[in-house]
Amino acid sequence: MSRKSAFGVLYTDYYRRVYGLCRRLLGAGQLAEDATQETFMRAYRSFHKFEPTQPFWQWIAAIASNHCVDLLRGRHRDAQLFGQEQAELDVADDTQLPILTHLENTEAADRLNALVAELPDRYRIPLVLAYYQGISYDDIASQLGITRTHVGVLLLRAKEKLRGALIATPEAGK
């Protein structure tokens, strides 16, 4: 099978998953379809570097998340996409908020999804990578170029934001 047709099969099998990842990483209002196309384009160009022993999903997901982070970094108005570790640490913990352990119905789940999409980039990216993609803190840290503690505090703040937002707008998603 030639490279093109082999790649065509992979494209058909993985398009939706890659799109889903890009959509979640880029959040609201970004061009997830373009990012997906670009991901496959990059994958196609470096297909010769792909080791067949490795899962394809892992390989292409890494390309997709790298590209999306690059996109967000480039479009970001601040010099640093992920801010300063110390500044995040200085934010007081909101221990009053209950930890989310269950959602009443599917509407609540949809609302939570929408809230994730609207999180600031610096919270959403590690959240999606850690809890959707299941990547370890160390891998996220090296991919984003920040420390492990920085990843930890961004994830903590992300969860706190979601807890607060879900309580503040219980019916807003409707």
């Binding site: 379809e33 196609y44 789940a109």
Partner: protein
């Protein structure tokens, strides 16, 4: 019992992300503290909930688009890029040689010819000759190496690329042959040099090449079927040149035939029984076109004194202290002069338009004929003071510029899609971008100039300057697209953002009073963006 660990530690512990040395302490605490034990359970349940929720298909997922253009067209794009590069190198080579270097040489010569001093003349002559000799030879050998190298690299890449996809060999060869269809860089060149002697092309001799002749005295009595570039104290052309003639010296005397244009700078330029088919461009202290001479095209002449007794088939444009016309002008006479005299035999078929100190500066003999009108346009200084914003031509021209920039932009973003991801970051970053642009703007010509002085680097310098000019043009296009995308962030595609961004950049650069400085700053930012992109591209390819 120790104090409860802080929320960050608890969160990282629940995710199994604490460093090993910190885990033990937390574990010990959690073992004895039921509050924290419950906390860990809740945190882990939250992570599971988040994972489950994120996996839900809450976003509408699109239908699978057809296997997109990235496969074959990606390499077609590379191929187009390679072809374009080769074409550009050819074109730049020809453009630089024919325009920049030619004009530069003419300019230098005319400047020194007008303030003629023997020593200076020697110096200039020597410099020009060296420039021509070394520059030409090196430029062409360099060009050949570059072009050949590109062809070889392109061929190899194409073969590797297309063979893998199972393209038949015949198609490969066909594709490879395409770049070869580009025009050859130059005709054969003859370079003759005789610094202190005479070069003569005798009446019975004939040459097929483009000739560069440099000597104390140059005489062309025979036939040359190419272009002639001649420099020397005295240049005499009495034979036939079927191409263009570029001549600079102290005295240039043309009494033969020139098939193309004549460009000359001298202390005195004389056409005696000359027959030039093309245009005449002359700069000299004293210019005369005598009674039996014909200029087949337009004549554009600048000097102290211009005397036209022969015939100019089209327009005569003169910049001089005195312009004397005693012959026939096929179309119009345009003059910027202290005094214009139309002698008894003068016959102007079109209008006479002149800029001079007063209306009386035009003196017309009794039997001189002007078929068109006589138009006095005031003092030369008044020229160009009309308000450009009130003319329709200005807006048409801006529209044409917008259209051209749009087309170039589309081609650019198709060829180099990565440029689309550029953005102007706020604050320090945009300052840095502009600073980078300023550096490129200033550094490239300076480095090019320094390189050019060594002569060994002359071809490199010329190519650098050409790339720099190209970058200046592309800078505003890239900036326009970036600005457009910032404004229309939700839009798919590049067309609309590009058009709108370009329009904004164009309008901003044409604002009254501040347009110049605004255009300058915009160019800086655009150059900075381009430089950033190139820098990133080089770094990425090195890292890969």
């Amino acid at each position: 019992m120790t104090a409860h660990p802080d929320t960050l530690t608890m969160s990282m512990y629940a995710d199994g992300a604490l460093p090993p040395e910190a885990v033990a302490a937390v574990e010990k605490h959690v073992g004895t503290c039921s509050t924290c034990r419950e906390q860990v359970t809740l945190l882990r349940r939250e992570v599971d909930l988040l994972n489950e929720t994120l996996r839900r298909t809450a976003v509408a997922e699109p239908d699978l688009p057809a296997l997109p253009r990235f496969s074959a067209p990606a390499s077609f794009r590379d191929f187009a890029l390679a072809n374009l590069t080769i074409g550009l190198v050819f074109w730049l080579g020809q453009f630089l040689w024919k325009t920049l270097l030619g004009e530069l040489a003419v300019d230098i010569a005319s400047r020194f010819a007008s303030i003629y001093v023997p020593d200076t003349y020697q110096l200039v002559n020597a410099f020009v000759m060296q420039l021509l000799e070394k520059g030409t030879a090196m430029f062409y050998s360099y060009l050949n190496v570059v072009v050949l190298g590109l062809l070889v690299i392109g061929s190899l890449l194409a073969i590797l690329k297309y063979r893998k996809n199972g393209l038949p060999p015949a198609a490969c060869i066909g594709l490879l042959a395409l770049p070869l269809l580009a025009p050859t860089p130059a005709d054969a060149l003859e370079f003759w040099r005789e610094p202190t002697g005479t070069i003569t092309i005798a009446a019975h001799e004939a040459y097929d090449d483009t000739m560069i002749l440099a000597a104390e005295m140059v005489r062309i009595e025979g036939n040359v079927t190419g272009d002639v570039i001649a420099t020397g104290r005295s240049i005499e052309v009495s034979g036939n040149i079927s191409g263009n003639l570029i001549a600079f010296g102290d005295t240039v005397r043309i009494s033969g035939k020139v098939g193309g244009a004549t460009i000359s700078a001298a202390s005195s330029l004389m056409l005696e029984h000359a027959d030039g088919a093309g245009d005449l461009w002359g700069a000299a202290k004293f210019i005369s076109i005598n009674r039996d001479s014909i200029v087949g095209g337009n004549a554009t002449l600048a000097g102290d004194s211009v005397m036209v007794e022969g015939k100019v088939a089209r327009d005569l444009t003169g910049f001089a202290d005195t312009i004397d016309v005693r012959g026939e002008l096929g179309r119009t006479l345009r003059a910027w002069a202290g005094a214009i005299r139309l002698g008894n035999d003068a016959h102007v078929h079109g209008n006479v338009t002149y800029h001079a100190a007063s209306r009386d500066s035009l003196k017309q003999a009794g039997s001189a004929r002007i078929d068109g009108e006589v138009i006095y346009e005031g003092q030369a200084e008044d020229f160009g003071h009309e308000n450009r914003y009130t003319t329709a031509r200005f807006y048409l021209w801006q529209l044409a510029r917008l259209g051209a920039a749009f087309l170039v932009g589309l081609a650019l973003f198709w060829l180099v899609p990565g440029l689309q991801s550029l953005s102007i970051a706020a604050g320090m970053d945009s300052l840095r971008t502009a600073g980078l642009g300023l550096l490129v703007l200033i550094a490239v010509p300076i480095i090019a100039l320094l390189t050019a002085f060594t002569l060994v680097g002359l071809p490199l310098a010329l190519i650098a300057v050409a790339a720099w000019i190209l970058a200046l043009y592309l800078a505003k296009i890239v900036l326009g697209a970036t600005v457009g995308r910032m404004l229309l962030a939700d839009r798919e595609g590049i067309m609309l953002p590009l058009l709108i961004g370009l329009a904004i950049v164009l309008v901003a650069g044409n604002l009254p009073w501040i347009g110049g400085i605004v255009g300058f700053v915009l160019t800086l930012v655009g150059l900075g963006l381009l430089a950033q992109y190139l820098w990133k591209a080089v770094n990425t390819s090195r890292a890969a």
